[in-house]
C-alpha cells in the first residue's frame, strides 16, 4: 500500500532491529521492550533516510539496515550465555506478557489510533501517490517518519505475543485479506482491524486449548481466513460466469 511498504522485506528490517534490541537487552540485563522501541525507531528513521537518499534503489537501503542488524544480533546473541529466551522472542509467547507491558500498550495504542486519525487523509494521499502528495503540500517527510515510528512500535509490542519471525506476516496478511474485500481505503483499514482482533483472539483461544504455540496459531488462523476469502471469491466468479453463459445461451 504505502510506497515505503511496497518493498516486501520492509517489516523484516524492523523485526531484525527489534531482535538486536532484545539481544542487547539480554546482554545488558535491561527490560527488552523499551530498548526494542528505541532501537527499532532508530532503525526506522535510518531506513527512511536511506530510502530517500537511494530513491531509485530503495531495496538497497533495506538490505544495508537488514544485514547490519543481522550481524549485530548474531554477535550479541553469542555474547549472552543463555540464548534460550531469544527463542521466546523469535516465536512469541503469551506468558511473556507482563502487567507492566499492558500499562505501556494502553497509552501507546491511543497514540497510534490518534495519530492515524489526526493525519488520516495525509496518509491516504501519501499511499496513493507520494509525488502528488508532495506537490499538494502534504508534509510527506514528517508523515513518512511518523508512520515508520508507528510501525516500529507496533512491531515491538506484537513481538511479545506473535513472535519476531511472524509479526511481519501478521501485518501483511491482514491487509492482504482486507484488500480483497474492501472497496475503499476506509474499509480496508476497518476490515484489517476486525480481522486482526478476530484472528488474534481465535488464535490465542485455540492455542490455549490445543496447547500450540500462540504466535504460529494466530498466523495460521490469519492464513485460513485469507484462503477462505480467496476461495469464496473464486467460486463466486465461477458461478457468475456460468450463470452468464446460461443466460446468454437462450439468445442463440
Amino acid at each position: 500500500m504505502f510506497e515505503i511498504f511496497s518493498y516486501s522485506f520492509m517489516p523484516r528490517a524492523f523485526l531484525v532491529g527489534n531482535l538486536v534490541a532484545v539481544a542487547l537487552g539480554m546482554v545488558l540485563g535491561v527490560y527488552p521492550v523499551y530498548l526494542a522501541i528505541i532501537v527499532s525507531v532508530l532503525a526506522a528513521i535510518g531506513v527512511e533516510k536511506l530510502r530517500v537518499d537511494y530513491k531509485d534503489y530503495a531495496e538497497l537501503s533495506l538490505a544495508v539496515i537488514l544485514s547490519s542488524a543481522l550481524g549485530l544480533m548474531t554477535v550479541l546473541v553469542s555474547l549472552s550465555r543463555s540464548n534460550s529466551s531469544i527463542f521466546s522472542y523469535l516465536f512469541g509467547s503469551i506468558s511473556l506478557v507482563t502487567p507492566e507491558d499492558l500499562w505501556v500498550i494502553f497509552p501507546i495504542s491511543i497514540f497510534i489510533v490518534g495519530g492515524v486519525l489526526v493525519f488520516y487523509y495525509g496518509f491516504f494521499y501519501l499511499s496513493f501517490n507520494e509525488e502528488e502528495a508532495h506537490m499538494a503540500g502534504i508534509p510527506v517527510k514528517l508523515l513518512n517518519n511518523f508512520f515508520m515510528v508507528m510501525v516500529a512500535i507496533t512491531i515491538s509490542f506484537s513481538m511479545r505475543i506473535v513472535g519476531g519471525l511472524l509479526v511481519a506476516s501478521m501485518l501483511i496478511l491482514l491487509v492482504a485479506t482486507a484488500l480483497r474485500i474492501a472497496k475503499s481505503f476506509r474499509d480496508t483499514i476497518i476490515y484489517s482491524i476486525i480481522l486482526g482482533i478476530f484472528s488474534v483472539n481465535s488464535g490465542l483461544f485455540i492455542s490455549f486449548y490445543v496447547d500450540l504455540a500462540s504466535g504460529g496459531t494466530i498466523i495460521l488462523s490469519n492464513i485460513i481466513i485469507f484462503i477462505l476469502v480467496v476461495l469464496y471469491q473464486f467460486l463466486r466468479d465461477k458461478i457468475r460466469t456460468k450463470r452468464f453463459h446460461y443466460l446468454t445461451s437462450f439468445r442463440r
Binding site: Y121, S127, F128, A136, I138, K183, S184
Partner: protein, 244 residues
C-alpha cells in the same frame, strides 16, 4: 484586462541548447488558451517553468501579478499532469476519498471529511457530471471518467488558473468532447483561466480564444478567429499556411 500569467523575455534550455528563446506572452484572466506544437517544442517545459518547478535561464514569469518564485498561494494555480492517470488501478480508493485528500489543508485538527467539505466534493463532482460515481472505486472507472475525477479533485481547491498537460490522450472521441465541454463550462461559468496542451487541433478553434503555437524556440500567438488549420497532402498539420 487583468493578466493571469505574464511571461517576459523568457529563455530556457535543459542543456546548452536553448529550447525557448526570448518568449513573451500574456494570458488574461478568463482566457481559454491552447498550447500546440510538435513534440519537444517546449510546451510541457513552459508549464513547468510557470509552476516554478524549473528555473528559467533568463526572463521573468508573473502569476496573478506576482513573480512566480515569490508566489505562495498555489491553491489558486493548479496543474493536472500528463501522468495523472498512471496509478495503481487496484488501489482501494473511492472517488470521494481521492477528492477529499486534496482538501487536506482545509480539514481541521483531525484530517477527516466534515459535512461542509463533503458538500464541496458533491459540487465539484456535479460540475464534471459524475455525481453518481461518488462511492465507486477509482480503478473501476474508465479512462475518461478518471480524468474527470482528477479535474473534480482540482476543482475543490477553487483554483483561478488550471494548467492541463494533454488531458485528452488515450480517451475516445466522445469522451474527449465531454471533457472539453466541462472545461468550457468551467471557463464560462466560473471564469476559470484554462491553459491546455493539446494535439487535437480540430477542436481547438471551437473552445479556445487564444492559441499559442510553439515552433523554432519561439511561441506564436493567434486568436481563435485568425487561426486556420488543415492537413497537407503529406498528412502534416498546416497552421496559418506554415507547417507544424
Amino acid at each position: 484586462m487583468n493578466p493571469a500569467i505574464e511571461i517576459c523575455n523568457l529563455s530556457f534550455g535543459y542543456q546548452k541548447n536553448l529550447l525557448l528563446q526570448e518568449v513573451n506572452l500574456t494570458i488574461n484572466k478568463g482566457d481559454f488558451v491552447a498550447f500546440i506544437g510538435p513534440n519537444g517544442s517546449g510546451k510541457s517545459t513552459l508549464l513547468k517553468l510557470i509552476l516554478n518547478t524549473l528555473k528559467p535561464k533568463k526572463g521573468e514569469i508573473k502569476l496573478l501579478g506576482v513573480p512566480n518564485f515569490r508566489f505562495t498561494d498555489w491553491t489558486k494555480v493548479r496543474y493536472i499532469s500528463q501522468k495523472v492517470r498512471e496509478f495503481n488501478d487496484s488501489f482501494p480508493a473511492t472517488v470521494k476519498e481521492l477528492i477529499a485528500s486534496n482538501m487536506y489543508h482545509q480539514m481541521g485538527f483531525l484530517k477527516l471529511v466534515t459535512p461542509k467539505l463533503s458538500k464541496r466534493i458533491d459540487q465539484s463532482l456535479e460540475m464534471v457530471g459524475l455525481s453518481k460515481c461518488r462511492n465507486e472505486q477509482i480503478g473501476n472507472l474508465s479512462g475518461g471518467q478518471q480524468q474527470r475525477v482528477f479535474i473534480a479533485r482540482t476543482l475543490v481547491k477553487e483554483p483561478e488558473i488550471i494548467l492541463l498537460d494533454e488531458p485528452l490522450v488515450g480517451i475516445d472521441q466522445k469522451t474527449q468532447h465531454e471533457i472539453q465541454q466541462i472545461l468550457i463550462k468551467l471557463n464560462q461559468k466560473l471564469g476559470t483561466t484554462i491553459v491546455m496542451i493539446s494535439h487535437n487541433l480540430e477542436s481547438i478553434k471551437g473552445q479556445s480564444n487564444k492559441i499559442f503555437l510553439f515552433k523554432d524556440m519561439d511561441v506564436f500567438n493567434y486568436t481563435a478567429k485568425e487561426f486556420t488549420v488543415h492537413l497537407s497532402k503529406k498528412g502534416e498539420w498546416v497552421v496559418n499556411n506554415s507547417y507544424v
